[in-house]
Amino acid sequence: MCCPGCAAVARAIVEGGLEDYYRYRTVTPTGQRERVPDILSELTLYDREEVQRSFVSGTGEQREAALILEGIVCAACAWLSERHVKELPGVVDFSVNYTTHRARLSWDETRIKLSDVLMAISAIGYRAHPFDPSRQEGVYRQERARMLKQLAVAGLGMMQVMMVAVGLYAGDYGGMSPETRSLLRWISFAFATPVVFYAARTFFSAAWRDLKRRALGMDVPVALAVATAYGASTWATLIGTGEVYFDSVTMFVFFLLVGRFLEMLARHRAGQTVEALVHLKPTMARRLDRDGETAVVASELIVGDSVRVRPGEVIPADGLVTEGTSSVNESLLTGEYLPCRRVVGDVVVGGSINVESPLTVRVAAVGADSVLSAVIQLLDRALAEKPRLAIVADRVAGWFVGGLLLMAIGVYAFWSWYDPARAFWVTLSVLVVTCPCALSLAMPVALTAATGTLSRLGLLATRGHVLEALSRTTDIVFDKTGTLTYGRPELVGVAVAEGEDIERCLCWAAALEQDSEHPVAQAFRVYIDTPLPATALFAEPGSGITGQVEGRQLRIGRPDWVARTDMMAEPRSFGVGAAEDGVVWLADETRVLAEFRLRDRLRPGVSQAIEALRVLGLRVHMLSGDTQAAVTDVAQRVGVNEAIGGLAPADKLAALRHLQAAGATVAMVGDGVNDAPVLAGADVSVALASGAQLAHASADMVLLSDRLLRLPQAVVVSRRCLRIVKQNLTWAVGYNLMAVPLAASGWLTPWMAAIGMSASSLVVVMNALRLRDLPETDGKGREAAV
């Protein structure tokens, strides 16, 4: 077992008699589970009426909620959670959708609380949080149902028309009576009509939209081909001459719909996963009234309210500290990874986290006036100015349609002079055989396959242009804190005074820091499993901790606070520490015992990832809100050339614009609130899943793991994808160039057109499927990214 959390999970599963989970499990979940007590407090939030309003239907005894389950990695997970929850007294129904990781829960409010159910789910190792299904989910379902119905109509229509077409082709050779031929044609017409008017509706409306905007997109040639082929075949059926192309029309519509459907599935899956990252969790605040504390939702606070913020809680609004001394972690807002000290009279920013001791804050700004809002406004502006990319296929389509129409006119003119009776039919065969099918399938199929590959790598694309932008990227910009680093300090060196033992000093330090919420404490906790008992612990916020360990009065903290004037020798510094290292001293009553150097820890594989990006020909930059010294140091360690520190969100955006003005296509990787505007302004952006929600919302892609090595792989995939799209387009155009002379010379019969069309489409699809292979990875080829 890796942690107590996992041990508790295993116990809950076995006690519930659900060991079969282990038998059916096909993927081992990763990551440490949170200790259950840690999350209980936040779960009870969901029991409050005002919070439930947004996601619960039914307010009486019977209630229903939609949940997102996190940590579902295989079907056994879905089954396990379903069984486990259904057994709870008071749960009426609980069904898990394994595809979307959504669950519907209905329960009896008088017998069980929502938080109890959520608690039970976390006891077996999954995280569940409510979400509001009315937003995206409903739209997805409708779109999916509509496309499935269209597919069914197109597919069945196609098969029936084909069946009749075989008879027609046979009749062309063996001869058949005109009545029979007419009957067969009418039957094909009957089947093709709903296919054109119902299944192909979306193509027509999209083409119409294109024409209104005076642009020639992919849908225009599609709509044109379907309309002319269907119209002419209907005409031929009516007057009993010429050729019918109903089989080509229906096949064409069906193929295209399949392509679009696959594309839609990939898009939905990405959208759903991203939605899962956006919790509905309201920020709660403890408002101080005359009769004590009342818990309220943060949005209800008004200027002048006093709120109490306990250690580890999020500060609900911008305000002034009126009571207490503590330090505040603003890393998501500013990128500075060490907490800053805040005393009475200081300003604190909503969204930052109180670290050490309770504070009372008088609210000074809420809603639109707060710092967070200013960042959001900046974000909206950046989004509005987002660089728009032209899609390759659409450009090709424009040329294609233009050329096709010119050619059709030329062919018609020639045949009008040569053999007027056949002019129309030959021209029609030209239009049918130059099927834009391969052309319009080229892009979506390749994009779908590449997006699927990216999500297997743990990168979720949320917007369509990602692949193209990524393949053209010239510069990549990283944020430092939380992106290249974990944003938490780690012990990198210890120096001790004469006659002291390093191990013992570490033990003492860990003993002093054992109850602290400060990030520095985490650094020591890693080293010592069972801390020594410490008494009389007292924390001086922003400075350090005093306490008694093994009968000695010890102090640990900032050097200037630890080293009192009456002290003796200072420890020999162990060589030269980097400028950005945090330094912590440990002292007893008489002298300084040890010096600890702390450093923000790098994520694994950062140097390799940056090296790989450079090999791919990208320039790597770093923009951060942290101090220049810290930024320069990290830049040197990972091999970034251009690193600028001390930037506010607006400065970051300006730096990015500067790059773009010089003609660069910029990719941005970040995680914090302060990165959100920059993410939105970049040509393509990646947010880390562990980061702030605002960053997710403004990014084009979300990286689910902390493996930055995925980025160069993604660049490789995107370039390969663009290459394959170009191959496909070349093939489609080439095929058409080959087929047109045949058609123009009047040699082509409908069955040849049908075969040529399906063959060319198949080639395109097969070629795109090559994108499903993962690029070279760090020795772990086909692993599922969780």
């Binding site: 056994a76 595809t99 069945l156």
Partner: protein
């Protein structure tokens, strides 16, 4: 070839039936979860050790 006059309308009728049936399956949500059910049928729901299945025997089945 008169038989065609019977067979073809029959084919049309059957195709319409198939489409109606398919649309009904879409509407009743049978395509909402395409990955769960095929796996779920492999799980033993009748294992007596499961909660709610009455007898909790400590005996392990092979």
């Amino acid at each position: 070839m008169t038989i065609l006059y019977l067979l073809l309308p029959l084919a049309v009728f059957l195709a319409i039936l198939a489409i109606v049936a398919f649309i009904w399956t879409v509407k009743s949500g049978q395509y909402d979860d395409m990955d769960g059910p095929p796996q779920r049928m492999l799980m033993d729901d009748d294992d007596p050790r499961l909660p709610g299945n009455g007898v909790r025997r400590a005996k392990r089945r092979p």
